[in-house]
């Protein structure tokens, strides 16, 4: 048994400490994802499954007048990445709800950890996973001659956008998890994500939809997120398209982080 040494802690919690705490919690979040195959596999399988099914069922639509591009797979890349990121990012909500149910969240609150670090740490985990998913799906369709017309710049924007989209959906899921503190309630919101993605331009161009559906999909924020990325998939690189893709996803991410922070503050205020 060793003796207790003099105090070793540096209690000053400035920006640097917050960044360190967020990084440590992000590492925990990533480790948790990577050690749970049941979390990873569905996020790879289902978007791939839908991509294959959609390509087989509506792939011929790529020949219709008004269809963006001339092939379905490049068109579907943005929607597939968004779908995968959306599915995976919702785990941020159930993870935090699990922490609340298990008491781990209280353990963190009983320490001098920055509240912002708790959020950023959780979101950083899904952001990293989102970036990996974007690369994975880009790699999956590449052998079928389905590459981004914007080239390397397009792929960089794809990954950056995927990160912000992960923060967006992760942030909203986190807010729900923090507010309810219930894994079941968080997972209960899952169908809403499917509705949001299917009433969008994820798998079919808005211009070719029936009028009422076009109205819904055209005003769905998810459509704006997808179309920003899609412009770089189907067109040569332009800074305007890159700024649009990143700007839309960044703006959405910012809103989501603010909502999650408000949820955390509301929970803490209730104590």
């Amino acid at each position: 048994m060793t003796a207790v040494t003099p105090a070793v802690h540096d209690a000053r919690l400035g920006l640097r400490a917050t960044a360190g705490q967020a990084a440590a919690l992000a590492r925990r979040s990533i480790v948790r994802i990577m050690r749970q195959p049941q979390v990873i596999v569905p996020n790879l399988f289902f978007p791939t499954f839908f991509l294959v099914i959609n390509n087989a069922s509506v792939g011929k639509a790529a020949g219709l007048p008004g269809f963006p591009g001339d092939r379905y797979l490049p068109f579907a890349l943005a929607g597939t990445v968004l779908q995968a990121v959306m599915l995976s990012s919702t785990s941020a909500g159930s993870e935090v709800a699990l922490d609340i149910e298990s008491g781990f969240f209280e353990r963190m609150l009983a320490s001098p950890v920055s509240r912002l670090a708790i959020l950023l740490g959780q979101l950083a985990g899904v952001a990293v996973f989102g970036a990996l998913l974007a690369l994975f799906f880009a790699a999956v369709i590449a052998p079928f001659d389905a590459v981004m017309k914007a080239g390397i710049g397009g792929y960089v924007v794809l990954v950056i956008s995927a990160v912000f989209l992960a923060v967006t959906f992760g942030g909203f899921a986190l807010a729900l998890g923090i507010r309810t503190g219930s894994v079941e309630a968080t997972q209960g919101a899952f169908p809403l994500y499917f509705v949001a993605i299917f009433i969008s331009s994820a798998f079919f161009p808005v211009a070719l939809m029936t009028p009422w559906y076009r109205h819904l999909a055209g005003n769905n924020p998810v459509t704006f997120m997808i179309d920003g990325i899609r412009d770089l998939t189907l067109e040569p690189f332009s800074w305007a398209a890159a700024a649009n893709a990143i700007g839309v996803s960044f703006g959405a991410a910012l809103v989501a982080v603010l909502v999650a922070f408000a949820a955390l503050n509301a929970r803490l205020a209730q104590r």
Binding site: H9, A11, G20, R28, S102, M108, L109, A110
Partner: protein, 339 residues
Amino acid sequence: MSNSPPIEAEGLVRTFGEVRAVDGVDLVVNAGEIYGFLGPNGAGKSTTVRMLTTLLKPTSGRARVAGHDVVAEAAAVRRAIGVALQDAAIDPILTGRELLSLQAVLHGINRKQGKARSEQLLERVGLTAAADRRVGTYSGGMRRRLDLALSLIHEPSVLFLDEPTTGLDPTSRQSLWEEVRRLNADGTTVLLTTQYLEEADQLAHRIGIIDGGKLVQEGVPATLKAAVGDPTLRVDVDAGHAEAARAVLAAHGEERPARAGRVAIGLRGGAESLPAVVRALDEAGIRIQHMELDAPSLDDVFAEATGRRLEGADAAAPDSESDSGPAAATDVDAHRGRP
């Protein structure tokens, strides 16, 4: 930290709707003390601890921990205290070493010092060999020891342990008690909540009995027990001699309730009067089958203060529990006091 007591509370109240979970608790825990908060489930122990550890805001009243107000200076309190809450809340996916590392960062300890401190604590709680195993594979006792190590990563001056041995087998329980004693010997002030009488008796320098959200009795265990009255002498005699034994024993103390075939009295003069009792029974021709003398227990103290026996608290009860896995049993229902 100033010269003020490490833990002090004044008129602490916490309500949940109409329920007053904690109802005006005044508390002072002195430096270097182990203070045992004793009470049944729902008495208000954990709610009080959660207020003192800044996890819950008091509805009214004030509390200072490590010299800081728990509401106005919550961050300073969190830096000074270690907390091991009820139901060791440990991430089962991570390893013990990873969790200690994370806890060190959360407390602002730099990487090198955090690593050294983690190794030291793993050794201290006997988890070095299991440090790289996922916590989900730990037994209940191992999780509790890791929980304790996590709460000590920043060498807190004040340690809160909320029912630290609930669900542990007797061996794990003893091991944790020893560790708490060692920590206290190193200068850490400890406030522990428990529903186990023996735990409070063995560990605490002073105890506070809480019931219905109120602190109903407080003091040094030995003093509290002595104040309850004479020890209970229980004598089993041959069938048919109970009445004669009762007559003989009446001269040595007031009769107390006992089961059939047994006579019990509050023995005046305590153990020193025992030889005289034996001689008197012998002279009356009464053969003693069995005799036992029980000093007043904390359960008697609890009963005196609340009019009830403490449910779910018994020294022997943990024997019936297992420590075979993370989901070890957590509750018992037995009484130390018996007729």
